[in-house]
Assembly symmetry: C2
Homo-oligomer: 329 residues x 2
C-alpha cells in the first residue's frame, strides 16, 4: 500500500504534476535502500568499538552518540587525554546525504571521513596500522571481515567501508514534517506551518533545502554581517587554499536539529532560539520578532525523524595477542 503511494508520487513528480512536496524546497527523507547488510553489521560493531582508539575508551559513538541525535551535544568534542576539539561534532544522522564530510568538506564521502578521527591525535589518537593490529588479533573480527570482504587480511579500506555502510543506515525518515510533505495535512500545526512559511520567505531555505535541509552547499558564515568567532576553524579555505573560501562551511543539515544542540561549527549557539536569531542577523540581515522566531523554532522541531533503532552491538573480546590500550601514555 505504502509502496503503491510512493510509486504514484514518483510518477506524478516525473510527469511534472504538482504533488504534495514536488514544489517544496525540502524533500522527504527516504528509508535506506540497496545496503550491504553484512557490511552494516560489521560496521556497527566497529562504530561502537573503542579499541579503534589509542586509549581503548573512545569510539565513533563517543562523539557521534546514537542515543543523542548522532552528536555529543558538546560545544566542541573531548578527544584523547581530554583534548578539547577545535570544532563542533556534526551529527552522523543523514550524513550520507551531505555533499562531502567534515565542516570544511575535506573528506569526499563517509568512507574517507571514517579514517580521519581514528588517526587524529586530538581525537582517537591511534594509527590505522595499530587499529588494524588490534582487529587482526581478534578471531571473531578476522572471520567476519573474511565473510564480508572475502580477503585474508583486514585493511583500513574495509574498516572504513564497513563503518560508512553502517552510517548509510542512519537516516531518519518519518518526521512530522515529512508526513506533512507526503500529504498528511494534520501532521503539523498551524504555527509550525507558519514557521515553515517564514523559513521559506525569509530565505533560510535558500541554503537549508533538499532532503537533508542542508548539507548540499558551502556558505560563508557571516554573509551579511561578520560572525564573531573565537573558534580557530577557518572553513573551506583550509581545503582549497582559496581566500574566497575563508569561513565558508558546509551548511549543516537541519534534520533532527532539536537533538543536535549546541549549534554552528563552533557550538556557540546553545539553543535553537539563539541559532535562529544569529542566522537571521548574520546570514540574512533580518531581525526576527520573538513570535517569528518561535514559529521557526516550532517548524524546526517537526524535522525530528525516527531515530535509528537497533540492538546494542556485543563486541568480540580481545585475546592474549591483542595489543593493550594505552590510555595514560
Amino acid at each position: 500500500m505504502k509502496k503503491h503511494t510512493h510509486i504514484a508520487l514518483i510518477l506524478a513528480f516525473v510527469g511534472g504534476t504538482s504533488t504534495a512536496w514536488s514544489s517544496e524546497p525540502i524533500q522527504p527523507i527516504s528509508p535506506v535502500k540497496e545496503i550491504n547488510l553484512a557490511q552494516v553489521e560489521l560496521g556497527k560493531k566497529l562504530y561502537f568499538d573503542p579499541r579503534l582508539s589509542k586509549s581503548g575508551f573512545i569510539s565513533c559513538n563517543s562523539c557521534h552518540n546514537l542515543s543523542m541525535g548522532g552528536t555529543d551535544n558538546l560545544k566542541t568534542s573531548i578527544g584523547h587525554n581530554w583534548h578539547q576539539g577545535p570544532i563542533n561534532a556534526p551529527t552522523v544522522l543523514n550524513s550520507s546525504l551531505n555533499l562531502a564530510q567534515f565542516w570544511d568538506g575535506r573528506a569526499a564521502d563517509l568512507k574517507e571521513q571514517a579514517g580521519g578521527p581514528i588517526a587524529n591525535p586530538g581525537e582517537m589518537a591511534f594509527t590505522h596500522t595499530l587499529a588494524l593490529d588490534v582487529l587482526a588479533s581478534i578471531p571473531a573480527y578476522v572471520t567476519e571481515f573474511k565473510q564480508v570482504f572475502g580477503n585474508a587480511d583486514i585493511n583500513i579500506d574495509q574498516v572504513t567501508q564497513a563503518i560508512a555502510e553502517f552510517e548509510k543506515t542512519l537516516v531518519t525518515p518519518n518526521s512530522r514534517f515529512d508526513q506533512w510533505l507526503l500529504g498528511n495535512k494534520d501532521a503539523i500545526t498551524a504555527d509550525e506551518l507558519a514557521g515553515y512559511n517564514l523559513f521559506k520567505e525569509s530565505g533560510c531555505s535558500g541554503c537549508h533545502n533538499g532532503a537533508a535541509v542542508g548539507g548540499n552547499s558551502y556558505q560563508k558564515m557571516g554573509l551579511v554581517e561578520p560572525y564573531k568567532a573565537n573558534s580557530p576553524a577557518e572553513g573551506r579555505v583550509a581545503v582549497t587554499g582559496d581566500e574566497a573560501d575563508r569561513f565558508k562551511f558546509k551548511v549543516p543539515t537541519l534534520r533532527n536539529v532539536e537533538l543536535t544542540y549546541p549549534y554552528f561549527h563552533d557550538g556557540e549557539a546553545e539553543t535553537l532560539t539563539e541559532a535562529v536569531n544569529i542566522m537571521g542577523r548574520v546570514q540574512l540581515g533580518k531581525k526576527f520578532t520573538k513570535a517569528e522566531n518561535a514559529k521557526i523554532v516550532a517548524f524546526l522541531k517537526t524535522l525530528t525523524g525516527d531515530q535509528p533503532s537497533f540492538q546494542l552491538p556485543i563486541l568480540p573480546p580481545s585475546t592474549d595477542r591483542t595489543p593493550q590500550p594505552k590510555p595514560f601514555e
Copy 2:
C-alpha cells in the same frame, strides 16, 4: 517444555535428590524474575545518559560498557578530565548477585552504588543536586519519573533505584557451563570439564562459588604469598577500619571472565593465563603446569553467558532550560 524441566529440577532439589548441579559449588544463573519493567526502561536511559556527568561525556556505560562485558577493559578507568582511576572497573554483569558493591563492599547494594560515581570527582565529577537539575529540565524525563514513581519531583533515590533496577536485568544465563550444570553433558568438552575439576580440586571454588562464581565473600589478596601491588587500593580496611581487612577485596565474579579483562582489583593481569597463575601462587600456594593452566582457562571460558540484549536507548533531548555541561572547567 523448558518451564516444565525447570519445575522438575526445583522439585528434585527441594526434595534433596541429587540433580545435575545440586552437588556442585556453582549454580546456574537464573533469568530475571520479578522486575519493575517501567523502572528498568527509565534506568536504562539513565545508565546511558552522559548528562549525569559534569562533562556531559561520561555515562555509567562509559566504564561499565555493555558492549564489552559490562567493563571498560582498561587496567584502571578514565574519569573526568582524563583522571586515572585507582582501581579496575568491575563488571556490572550479574552484579546483583554480589554480597555488596565496589571492590571493598562500601555500598550495600546496586542502588547505593549507583550514586557513587556520579558524585566522584575522579569519575563523573558531578553532584547529585546538579544531576537532578539536569533531569528536571527535561520534560520527557519529568513525565517518565512521574509515571514510574508517582511523585511530582525527581529525587536521587528514584534515579539510583531506576538504574539499579535496570542493572538487575543484566544477568547472563545460558552459558555453556550452565547448560552442562542443567544436564546437557555435551555442552562442554572433556578438556573444559577437566579444567572444572582442577578448579574444584585446587581450591579455586573455595572462594569462586555460587551462581556468580564469586561475589559472595571478601578475601585477602595474597593469602599464601604476598601480592605485590602498585595500586593504592587497600581493600576492605577502608570501610571497616579493621587492620585485619587490609588487602581484603570482594572476590570478583568469574561469570563472563573471558570478556572482563584485565583482571584483579588493579587490572595488572592482562590475560586469564596470567590471572590463573598468579591466583594459584598467591592464594593457593600452587604452581599450575602449562597444561593445567590451559584447562582451567578453557573451563573459565565456558562461563560466558548470553549477553544482555536490548535496543540502544534514545535519550530525550535537553531544553533551553537545561544546565550546560562543563567539560573543560
